[in-house]
Protein backbone atom coordinates (compact mmCIF):
# COMPACT_ATOMS: atom_id res chain seq x y z
CA UNK A 1 0.00 0.00 0.00
CA UNK A 2 2.82 2.39 0.90
CA UNK A 3 4.34 1.52 -2.49
CA UNK A 4 1.17 2.74 -4.15
CA UNK A 5 1.25 5.99 -2.22
CA UNK A 6 4.85 6.58 -3.22
CA UNK A 7 4.00 6.00 -6.88
CA UNK A 8 1.03 8.36 -6.58
CA UNK A 9 3.13 11.10 -5.01
CA UNK A 10 5.86 10.68 -7.62
CA UNK A 11 3.43 10.85 -10.55
CA UNK A 12 1.63 13.91 -9.18
CA UNK A 13 4.96 15.65 -8.51
CA UNK A 14 6.16 14.71 -11.98
CA UNK A 15 3.01 16.21 -13.47
CA UNK A 16 3.38 19.37 -11.40
CA UNK A 17 7.00 19.90 -12.43
CA UNK A 18 7.20 18.43 -15.93
CA UNK A 19 3.82 19.39 -17.40
CA UNK A 20 4.74 23.07 -18.01
CA UNK A 21 7.91 21.99 -19.81
CA UNK A 22 6.17 19.38 -21.92
CA UNK A 23 3.19 21.66 -22.58
CA UNK A 24 5.46 24.57 -23.54
CA UNK A 25 7.51 22.36 -25.83
CA UNK A 26 4.34 21.01 -27.44
CA UNK A 27 3.17 24.59 -28.00
CA UNK A 28 6.53 25.42 -29.58
CA UNK A 29 6.40 22.37 -31.82
CA UNK A 30 2.85 23.32 -32.74
CA UNK A 31 3.99 26.79 -33.87
CA UNK A 32 6.96 25.38 -35.76
CA UNK A 33 4.76 22.81 -37.49
CA UNK A 34 2.13 25.41 -38.36
CA UNK A 35 4.82 27.61 -39.87
CA UNK A 36 6.12 24.72 -41.95
CA UNK A 37 2.60 23.90 -43.11
CA UNK A 38 2.40 27.49 -44.34
CA UNK A 39 5.78 27.44 -46.05
CA UNK A 40 7.44 29.59 -43.39
CA UNK A 41 10.51 29.05 -41.26
CA UNK A 42 8.73 29.67 -37.97
CA UNK A 43 9.90 30.69 -34.50
CA UNK A 44 12.33 28.68 -32.35
CA UNK A 45 10.78 25.69 -30.59
CA UNK A 46 11.42 27.41 -27.24
CA UNK A 47 9.46 30.50 -28.34
CA UNK A 48 6.46 29.87 -25.99
CA UNK A 49 8.88 29.99 -23.03
CA UNK A 50 10.37 33.27 -24.28
CA UNK A 51 6.85 34.64 -24.61
CA UNK A 52 5.91 33.70 -21.06
CA UNK A 53 9.17 35.08 -19.60
CA UNK A 54 8.60 38.26 -21.60
CA UNK A 55 5.07 38.58 -20.23
CA UNK A 56 6.41 38.19 -16.69
CA UNK A 57 8.71 41.15 -17.32
CA UNK A 58 5.93 43.48 -18.41
CA UNK A 59 4.33 46.25 -16.40
CA UNK A 60 1.36 44.90 -14.42
CA UNK A 61 -1.85 46.33 -15.85
CA UNK A 62 -5.22 44.95 -14.84
CA UNK A 63 -8.67 46.34 -15.28
CA UNK A 64 -9.71 45.10 -11.85
CA UNK A 65 -8.29 43.10 -8.97
CA UNK A 66 -10.79 40.26 -9.36
CA UNK A 67 -9.46 39.33 -12.77
CA UNK A 68 -6.01 38.33 -11.50
CA UNK A 69 -7.64 36.26 -8.79
CA UNK A 70 -9.87 34.41 -11.26
CA UNK A 71 -6.99 33.66 -13.61
CA UNK A 72 -4.87 32.43 -10.69
CA UNK A 73 -7.78 30.18 -9.66
CA UNK A 74 -7.94 28.88 -13.21
CA UNK A 75 -4.29 27.82 -12.98
CA UNK A 76 -4.71 26.30 -9.51
CA UNK A 77 -7.75 24.28 -10.53
CA UNK A 78 -6.05 23.17 -13.72
CA UNK A 79 -3.12 21.87 -11.67
CA UNK A 80 -5.54 20.17 -9.26
CA UNK A 81 -7.37 18.57 -12.19
CA UNK A 82 -4.14 17.09 -13.49
CA UNK A 83 -3.06 16.09 -9.99
CA UNK A 84 -6.31 14.15 -9.49
CA UNK A 85 -5.83 12.54 -12.87
CA UNK A 86 -2.22 11.52 -12.35
CA UNK A 87 -2.98 10.40 -8.80
CA UNK A 88 -5.34 7.86 -10.41
CA UNK A 89 -8.54 9.22 -8.86
CA UNK A 90 -12.05 9.22 -10.30
CA UNK A 91 -12.51 10.52 -13.84
CA UNK A 92 -15.74 12.25 -12.82
CA UNK A 93 -13.91 14.24 -10.16
CA UNK A 94 -11.29 15.14 -12.77
CA UNK A 95 -13.88 16.33 -15.29
CA UNK A 96 -15.78 18.46 -12.79
CA UNK A 97 -12.58 20.08 -11.55
CA UNK A 98 -11.64 20.79 -15.16
CA UNK A 99 -14.99 22.48 -15.67
CA UNK A 100 -14.39 24.59 -12.56
CA UNK A 101 -11.08 25.76 -14.00
CA UNK A 102 -12.84 26.67 -17.23
CA UNK A 103 -15.51 28.60 -15.36
CA UNK A 104 -12.90 30.67 -13.55
CA UNK A 105 -11.49 31.66 -16.92
CA UNK A 106 -14.97 32.69 -18.06
CA UNK A 107 -15.42 34.68 -14.86
CA UNK A 108 -12.12 36.46 -15.51
CA UNK A 109 -13.32 37.48 -18.96
CA UNK A 110 -16.74 38.55 -17.69
CA UNK A 111 -15.19 40.67 -14.95
CA UNK A 112 -14.02 43.28 -17.44
CA UNK A 113 -16.28 45.55 -19.40
CA UNK A 114 -14.59 44.86 -22.71
CA UNK A 115 -17.16 43.74 -25.28
CA UNK A 116 -14.57 41.48 -26.89
CA UNK A 117 -13.88 39.68 -23.62
CA UNK A 118 -17.60 39.45 -22.91
CA UNK A 119 -18.42 37.90 -26.27
CA UNK A 120 -15.38 35.65 -25.84
CA UNK A 121 -16.73 34.51 -22.47
CA UNK A 122 -20.14 33.78 -23.96
CA UNK A 123 -18.57 31.76 -26.75
CA UNK A 124 -16.44 29.90 -24.22
CA UNK A 125 -19.61 28.89 -22.36
CA UNK A 126 -21.11 27.67 -25.64
CA UNK A 127 -17.96 25.72 -26.35
CA UNK A 128 -18.15 24.13 -22.92
CA UNK A 129 -21.72 23.15 -23.68
CA UNK A 130 -20.52 21.66 -26.96
CA UNK A 131 -17.72 19.48 -25.60
CA UNK A 132 -19.00 18.58 -22.15
CA UNK A 133 -21.40 15.73 -23.19
CA UNK A 134 -18.65 13.94 -25.10
CA UNK A 135 -16.19 14.27 -22.23
CA UNK A 136 -18.75 12.80 -19.83
CA UNK A 137 -19.56 10.02 -22.29
CA UNK A 138 -15.87 9.21 -22.41
CA UNK A 139 -15.77 8.81 -18.66
CA UNK A 140 -18.90 6.63 -18.64
CA UNK A 141 -17.58 4.46 -21.48
CA UNK A 142 -14.25 3.90 -19.80
CA UNK A 143 -16.17 3.02 -16.64
CA UNK A 144 -18.16 0.35 -18.46
CA UNK A 145 -15.12 -1.33 -19.98
CA UNK A 146 -13.30 -1.41 -16.64
CA UNK A 147 -14.84 -4.20 -14.62
CA UNK A 148 -13.26 -4.82 -11.24
CA UNK A 149 -14.14 -7.38 -8.60
CA UNK A 150 -14.88 -6.75 -4.98
CA UNK A 151 -13.86 -9.05 -2.14
CA UNK A 152 -16.90 -11.28 -2.65
CA UNK A 153 -16.24 -11.80 -6.35
CA UNK A 154 -19.13 -9.71 -7.64
CA UNK A 155 -18.51 -7.31 -10.50
CA UNK A 156 -18.21 -3.60 -10.01
CA UNK A 157 -17.03 -0.98 -12.45
CA UNK A 158 -14.57 1.77 -11.79
CA UNK A 159 -14.15 5.42 -12.74
CA UNK A 160 -10.70 5.47 -11.19
CA UNK A 161 -7.90 6.32 -13.57
CA UNK A 162 -5.62 3.86 -11.79
CA UNK A 163 -8.04 0.99 -12.50
CA UNK A 164 -8.52 2.07 -16.10
CA UNK A 165 -4.82 2.18 -16.93
CA UNK A 166 -3.98 -1.03 -15.12
CA UNK A 167 -6.90 -3.01 -16.58
CA UNK A 168 -5.97 -5.59 -19.18
CA UNK A 169 -8.46 -4.23 -21.73
CA UNK A 170 -7.16 -1.80 -24.31
CA UNK A 171 -9.98 0.75 -24.23
CA UNK A 172 -9.87 1.79 -27.85
CA UNK A 173 -10.51 -1.80 -28.92
CA UNK A 174 -14.05 -1.57 -27.54
CA UNK A 175 -14.55 2.19 -27.77
CA UNK A 176 -13.42 3.30 -31.25
CA UNK A 177 -16.45 5.58 -31.61
CA UNK A 178 -15.91 7.21 -28.25
CA UNK A 179 -12.25 7.72 -29.12
CA UNK A 180 -13.15 9.47 -32.39
CA UNK A 181 -15.68 11.61 -30.54
CA UNK A 182 -13.08 12.57 -27.96
CA UNK A 183 -10.58 13.53 -30.67
CA UNK A 184 -13.29 15.69 -32.21
CA UNK A 185 -13.98 17.66 -29.03
CA UNK A 186 -10.26 17.89 -28.29
CA UNK A 187 -10.13 20.33 -31.20
CA UNK A 188 -12.35 22.59 -29.10
CA UNK A 189 -10.33 22.04 -25.94
CA UNK A 190 -7.01 22.71 -27.69
CA UNK A 191 -8.54 25.90 -29.15
CA UNK A 192 -7.87 24.92 -32.73
CA UNK A 193 -9.67 25.97 -35.89
CA UNK A 194 -12.46 25.44 -36.86
CA UNK A 195 -13.50 25.71 -33.19
CA UNK A 196 -11.22 28.43 -31.79
CA UNK A 197 -14.18 30.73 -31.31
CA UNK A 198 -13.61 32.16 -27.88
CA UNK A 199 -9.88 32.67 -28.14
CA UNK A 200 -7.34 31.86 -30.78
CA UNK A 201 -3.59 31.57 -30.63
CA UNK A 202 -3.49 33.18 -34.03
CA UNK A 203 -3.44 36.92 -34.33
CA UNK A 204 -6.19 39.13 -35.63
CA UNK A 205 -9.40 37.33 -35.20
CA UNK A 206 -12.73 39.08 -35.26
CA UNK A 207 -12.83 39.23 -31.46
CA UNK A 208 -9.31 40.69 -31.13
CA UNK A 209 -8.19 38.10 -28.55
CA UNK A 210 -11.57 37.03 -27.23
CA UNK A 211 -11.34 35.78 -23.66
CA UNK A 212 -7.84 37.10 -23.17
CA UNK A 213 -8.36 40.57 -24.64
CA UNK A 214 -8.17 42.28 -21.26
CA UNK A 215 -5.43 40.09 -19.81
CA UNK A 216 -1.87 41.26 -20.08
CA UNK A 217 1.56 40.78 -18.56
CA UNK A 218 1.79 38.33 -15.68
CA UNK A 219 -1.91 37.47 -15.82
CA UNK A 220 -1.62 36.37 -19.42
CA UNK A 221 1.53 34.42 -18.56
CA UNK A 222 -0.36 32.56 -15.82
CA UNK A 223 -3.13 31.71 -18.27
CA UNK A 224 -0.60 30.50 -20.83
CA UNK A 225 1.00 28.17 -18.28
CA UNK A 226 -2.42 26.85 -17.28
CA UNK A 227 -3.02 26.01 -20.95
CA UNK A 228 0.19 24.02 -20.96
CA UNK A 229 -0.96 22.06 -17.92
CA UNK A 230 -4.34 21.55 -19.55
CA UNK A 231 -2.90 20.25 -22.82
CA UNK A 232 -0.71 17.67 -21.09
CA UNK A 233 -3.63 16.49 -19.00
CA UNK A 234 -5.90 16.28 -22.07
CA UNK A 235 -3.35 14.12 -23.86
CA UNK A 236 -3.48 11.95 -20.75
CA UNK A 237 -7.13 11.38 -21.58
CA UNK A 238 -6.11 10.09 -25.02
CA UNK A 239 -3.55 7.87 -23.31
CA UNK A 240 -6.27 6.20 -21.20
CA UNK A 241 -7.65 4.54 -24.31
CA UNK A 242 -4.41 2.66 -24.89
CA UNK A 243 -3.01 1.82 -21.48
CA UNK A 244 -3.42 -1.73 -20.25
CA UNK A 245 -0.64 -1.91 -17.73
CA UNK A 246 2.06 -3.18 -20.11
CA UNK A 247 5.18 -1.25 -21.15
CA UNK A 248 4.43 -1.80 -24.83
CA UNK A 249 1.04 -0.11 -24.61
CA UNK A 250 2.54 2.78 -22.65
CA UNK A 251 4.86 3.43 -25.58
CA UNK A 252 1.99 3.03 -28.03
CA UNK A 253 -0.15 5.38 -25.94
CA UNK A 254 2.49 8.11 -25.87
CA UNK A 255 3.01 7.80 -29.63
CA UNK A 256 -0.74 8.04 -30.23
CA UNK A 257 -0.86 11.17 -28.02
CA UNK A 258 1.84 12.80 -30.14
CA UNK A 259 0.08 11.76 -33.36
CA UNK A 260 -3.19 13.18 -31.99
CA UNK A 261 -1.46 16.49 -31.26
CA UNK A 262 0.04 16.58 -34.75
CA UNK A 263 -3.39 15.80 -36.17
CA UNK A 264 -4.97 18.71 -34.23
CA UNK A 265 -2.28 21.07 -35.51
CA UNK A 266 -2.94 19.88 -39.03
CA UNK A 267 -6.71 20.36 -38.66
CA UNK A 268 -6.00 23.84 -37.29
CA UNK A 269 -4.08 24.77 -40.41
CA UNK A 270 -6.50 23.45 -43.01
CA UNK A 271 -9.68 24.90 -41.54
CA UNK A 272 -11.24 28.31 -41.29
CA UNK A 273 -13.00 29.36 -38.10
CA UNK A 274 -16.65 28.31 -38.04
CA UNK A 275 -19.64 29.88 -36.33
CA UNK A 276 -20.61 28.69 -32.85
CA UNK A 277 -23.76 27.08 -34.25
CA UNK A 278 -21.63 24.77 -36.36
CA UNK A 279 -19.30 23.96 -33.47
CA UNK A 280 -22.25 23.18 -31.24
CA UNK A 281 -24.24 21.10 -33.75
CA UNK A 282 -21.22 19.24 -35.07
CA UNK A 283 -19.89 18.23 -31.67
CA UNK A 284 -23.30 17.11 -30.39
CA UNK A 285 -23.98 15.12 -33.56
CA UNK A 286 -20.55 13.47 -33.37
CA UNK A 287 -21.10 12.77 -29.65
CA UNK A 288 -24.44 11.21 -30.48
CA UNK A 289 -23.40 9.17 -33.50
CA UNK A 290 -19.96 8.06 -32.37
CA UNK A 291 -20.22 8.28 -28.59
CA UNK A 292 -23.77 7.27 -27.68
CA UNK A 293 -24.03 4.46 -30.25
CA UNK A 294 -20.72 2.99 -29.13
CA UNK A 295 -21.75 3.33 -25.51
CA UNK A 296 -25.10 1.66 -26.21
CA UNK A 297 -23.44 -1.35 -27.80
CA UNK A 298 -21.05 -1.73 -24.88
CA UNK A 299 -23.88 -1.24 -22.40
CA UNK A 300 -26.00 -3.97 -24.02
CA UNK A 301 -22.99 -6.28 -24.17
CA UNK A 302 -22.25 -5.73 -20.49
CA UNK A 303 -25.79 -5.83 -19.11
CA UNK A 304 -27.46 -8.46 -21.26
CA UNK A 305 -24.62 -10.67 -22.33
CA UNK A 306 -22.49 -10.33 -19.25
CA UNK A 307 -19.46 -9.26 -21.25
CA UNK A 308 -16.31 -8.69 -19.29
CA UNK A 309 -17.62 -10.52 -16.22
Amino acid sequence: MSGNITVTIISVAAYFILAPFIGGLLAGIDRKLSARFQGRCGPPVLQPFYDVFKLLEKEPVTVNGAQDFYVACCLVFMIITGAFFFAGLSLLLVIFTLTTAGLFLVAAAYSSNSPYAQVGAERELLQMMAYEPMVLLTAVSLYLVTPIYDDYGSVLHSFNVIDIISHTHVGVQYLPGVFIGLLFVLTIKFRKSPFDLSMSHHAHQELVKGLTTELSGKTLAVLEVSHWYENVFLLGFVFLFFANGTALMIVVGVIVCLVAYFFETFIDNVNARMKWQFAFNASWIVSLVCGVVNLLIIYIAVIYFGWGV
Partner: protein, 182 residues
Protein backbone atom coordinates in the same frame (compact mmCIF):
# COMPACT_ATOMS: atom_id res chain seq x y z
CA UNK B 1 19.53 39.55 -21.78
CA UNK B 2 15.95 40.61 -21.58
CA UNK B 3 13.30 38.25 -22.92
CA UNK B 4 11.36 41.16 -24.32
CA UNK B 5 13.76 41.25 -27.28
CA UNK B 6 13.09 37.60 -27.99
CA UNK B 7 9.36 37.89 -28.11
CA UNK B 8 8.31 41.32 -29.39
CA UNK B 9 4.62 41.38 -30.13
CA UNK B 10 3.49 44.17 -32.39
CA UNK B 11 0.34 46.14 -32.94
CA UNK B 12 -0.10 47.95 -36.20
CA UNK B 13 -2.15 51.06 -36.83
CA UNK B 14 -2.55 52.79 -40.17
CA UNK B 15 -3.32 56.52 -39.98
CA UNK B 16 -4.13 58.66 -42.98
CA UNK B 17 -1.98 57.20 -45.70
CA UNK B 18 -2.16 55.66 -49.14
CA UNK B 19 -1.97 52.21 -47.44
CA UNK B 20 1.30 51.44 -49.21
CA UNK B 21 3.30 51.10 -45.99
CA UNK B 22 0.34 49.31 -44.40
CA UNK B 23 0.61 46.59 -47.02
CA UNK B 24 4.38 46.41 -46.64
CA UNK B 25 3.96 45.82 -42.89
CA UNK B 26 1.64 42.93 -43.63
CA UNK B 27 4.09 41.67 -46.22
CA UNK B 28 6.58 41.14 -43.38
CA UNK B 29 4.30 38.40 -42.03
CA UNK B 30 4.18 36.44 -45.28
CA UNK B 31 6.34 33.35 -45.89
CA UNK B 32 8.70 35.56 -47.94
CA UNK B 33 9.86 37.59 -44.91
CA UNK B 34 8.31 35.59 -42.03
CA UNK B 35 8.97 37.86 -39.04
CA UNK B 36 7.59 35.16 -36.75
CA UNK B 37 11.02 33.54 -36.92
CA UNK B 38 12.14 36.33 -34.57
CA UNK B 39 9.20 35.60 -32.29
CA UNK B 40 7.31 38.59 -33.63
CA UNK B 41 3.54 38.20 -33.55
CA UNK B 42 1.14 40.68 -35.04
CA UNK B 43 -1.41 40.93 -32.25
CA UNK B 44 -4.52 42.99 -32.75
CA UNK B 45 -4.55 43.88 -29.09
CA UNK B 46 -2.66 46.84 -27.55
CA UNK B 47 -2.64 45.14 -24.14
CA UNK B 48 -0.53 42.30 -25.53
CA UNK B 49 1.75 44.45 -27.66
CA UNK B 50 5.32 45.59 -27.07
CA UNK B 51 5.93 47.48 -30.29
CA UNK B 52 3.54 49.94 -31.86
CA UNK B 53 3.96 50.25 -35.62
CA UNK B 54 2.31 53.33 -37.06
CA UNK B 55 2.04 53.94 -40.77
CA UNK B 56 0.60 57.09 -42.29
CA UNK B 57 0.39 60.59 -40.93
CA UNK B 58 -1.76 61.75 -38.05
CA UNK B 59 -4.96 63.65 -38.73
CA UNK B 60 -7.43 65.33 -36.42
CA UNK B 61 -9.66 62.27 -36.35
CA UNK B 62 -7.14 59.64 -35.35
CA UNK B 63 -5.22 61.52 -32.65
CA UNK B 64 -7.37 59.97 -29.93
CA UNK B 65 -7.08 56.50 -31.48
CA UNK B 66 -3.29 56.62 -31.57
CA UNK B 67 -3.13 57.99 -28.03
CA UNK B 68 -5.48 55.32 -26.73
CA UNK B 69 -3.58 52.47 -28.33
CA UNK B 70 -0.32 53.87 -26.94
CA UNK B 71 -1.73 54.33 -23.45
CA UNK B 72 -3.24 50.86 -23.34
CA UNK B 73 0.10 49.19 -24.08
CA UNK B 74 1.84 48.02 -20.91
CA UNK B 75 5.44 49.19 -20.52
CA UNK B 76 8.12 48.61 -21.77
CA UNK B 77 6.84 49.76 -25.14
CA UNK B 78 8.37 51.17 -28.28
CA UNK B 79 6.87 53.17 -31.12
CA UNK B 80 8.15 52.72 -34.65
CA UNK B 81 7.01 55.25 -37.26
CA UNK B 82 7.00 53.55 -40.64
CA UNK B 83 7.11 55.42 -43.94
CA UNK B 84 7.74 59.07 -44.61
CA UNK B 85 4.15 60.06 -43.77
CA UNK B 86 4.42 58.65 -40.25
CA UNK B 87 7.88 60.19 -39.91
CA UNK B 88 7.08 63.75 -40.91
CA UNK B 89 3.69 63.93 -42.59
CA UNK B 90 5.17 63.34 -46.03
CA UNK B 91 3.18 64.61 -48.99
CA UNK B 92 0.20 65.18 -46.71
CA UNK B 93 2.15 67.54 -44.46
CA UNK B 94 0.51 70.75 -45.65
CA UNK B 95 -3.06 69.40 -45.62
CA UNK B 96 -5.49 71.35 -43.44
CA UNK B 97 -6.38 68.36 -41.27
CA UNK B 98 -2.91 66.84 -40.83
CA UNK B 99 -0.97 67.21 -37.60
CA UNK B 100 2.24 65.86 -39.16
CA UNK B 101 4.24 62.80 -38.15
CA UNK B 102 3.36 60.45 -35.34
CA UNK B 103 5.76 62.27 -33.00
CA UNK B 104 3.33 65.17 -32.82
CA UNK B 105 1.05 62.94 -30.73
CA UNK B 106 3.12 60.25 -28.99
CA UNK B 107 6.86 59.78 -28.45
CA UNK B 108 8.50 57.89 -31.30
CA UNK B 109 11.60 55.73 -30.80
CA UNK B 110 12.50 54.63 -34.30
CA UNK B 111 11.86 56.30 -37.65
CA UNK B 112 11.77 54.21 -40.82
CA UNK B 113 11.46 56.58 -43.79
CA UNK B 114 10.59 55.42 -47.29
CA UNK B 115 7.69 55.64 -49.67
CA UNK B 116 6.68 52.96 -49.29
CA UNK B 117 9.09 51.60 -46.67
CA UNK B 118 10.38 48.23 -47.86
CA UNK B 119 9.75 45.14 -45.70
CA UNK B 120 13.52 44.80 -45.16
CA UNK B 121 13.62 48.37 -43.85
CA UNK B 122 10.61 47.73 -41.62
CA UNK B 123 12.19 44.60 -40.12
CA UNK B 124 15.41 46.55 -39.62
CA UNK B 125 13.46 49.30 -37.85
CA UNK B 126 11.77 46.80 -35.55
CA UNK B 127 15.14 45.21 -34.74
CA UNK B 128 16.50 48.70 -33.87
CA UNK B 129 13.41 49.13 -31.72
CA UNK B 130 14.37 45.97 -29.83
CA UNK B 131 17.50 47.72 -28.55
CA UNK B 132 15.37 50.57 -27.22
CA UNK B 133 12.93 48.06 -25.76
CA UNK B 134 15.74 46.33 -23.85
CA UNK B 135 16.90 49.67 -22.42
CA UNK B 136 13.37 50.57 -21.37
CA UNK B 137 12.94 47.15 -19.83
CA UNK B 138 16.07 47.72 -17.74
CA UNK B 139 14.67 51.04 -16.50
CA UNK B 140 11.15 49.74 -15.81
CA UNK B 141 11.53 48.38 -12.24
CA UNK B 142 12.99 51.70 -11.10
CA UNK B 143 10.22 53.65 -12.85
CA UNK B 144 7.52 51.53 -11.24
CA UNK B 145 9.11 51.89 -7.81
CA UNK B 146 9.30 55.68 -8.24
CA UNK B 147 5.66 55.82 -9.26
CA UNK B 148 4.60 53.78 -6.28
CA UNK B 149 6.57 56.07 -3.99
CA UNK B 150 5.02 59.15 -5.58
CA UNK B 151 1.57 57.69 -5.28
CA UNK B 152 2.17 56.85 -1.63
CA UNK B 153 3.19 60.45 -0.96
CA UNK B 154 0.23 62.07 -2.65
CA UNK B 155 -2.76 59.77 -2.94
CA UNK B 156 -4.97 61.29 -5.60
CA UNK B 157 -8.55 60.09 -5.63
CA UNK B 158 -10.59 56.97 -5.03
CA UNK B 159 -9.64 55.57 -8.45
CA UNK B 160 -6.17 55.07 -7.15
CA UNK B 161 -6.94 52.77 -4.25
CA UNK B 162 -5.90 49.63 -6.10
CA UNK B 163 -2.30 49.38 -7.04
CA UNK B 164 -1.22 48.81 -10.62
CA UNK B 165 -4.42 50.06 -12.13
CA UNK B 166 -4.06 52.24 -15.18
CA UNK B 167 -6.98 54.36 -16.21
CA UNK B 168 -7.15 55.14 -19.88
CA UNK B 169 -8.56 58.47 -20.97
CA UNK B 170 -11.67 57.93 -22.95
CA UNK B 171 -11.70 59.97 -26.14
CA UNK B 172 -13.37 63.24 -25.50
CA UNK B 173 -12.38 65.81 -22.87
CA UNK B 174 -8.63 66.14 -23.31
CA UNK B 175 -8.67 65.69 -27.06
CA UNK B 176 -11.48 68.14 -27.55
CA UNK B 177 -9.34 70.78 -25.82
CA UNK B 178 -6.41 70.01 -28.11
CA UNK B 179 -8.58 70.18 -31.18
CA UNK B 180 -9.68 73.61 -30.01
CA UNK B 181 -6.02 74.71 -29.81
CA UNK B 182 -5.30 73.46 -33.28
Amino acid sequence: MSYVTKSPWIIHYDGSSCNGCDIEVLACLTPMYDVERFGIINTGNPKHADIFLVTGSVNEQNISVIKQIYEQMPRPKVVVAIGICATSGGVFRECYNIMGGVDTVIPVDVYVPGCAARPEAIIDGVVKGLGVLAEKRARLPQELADERARRAESPRDEDDTTEDVITVDVAGGADAAEKGDA
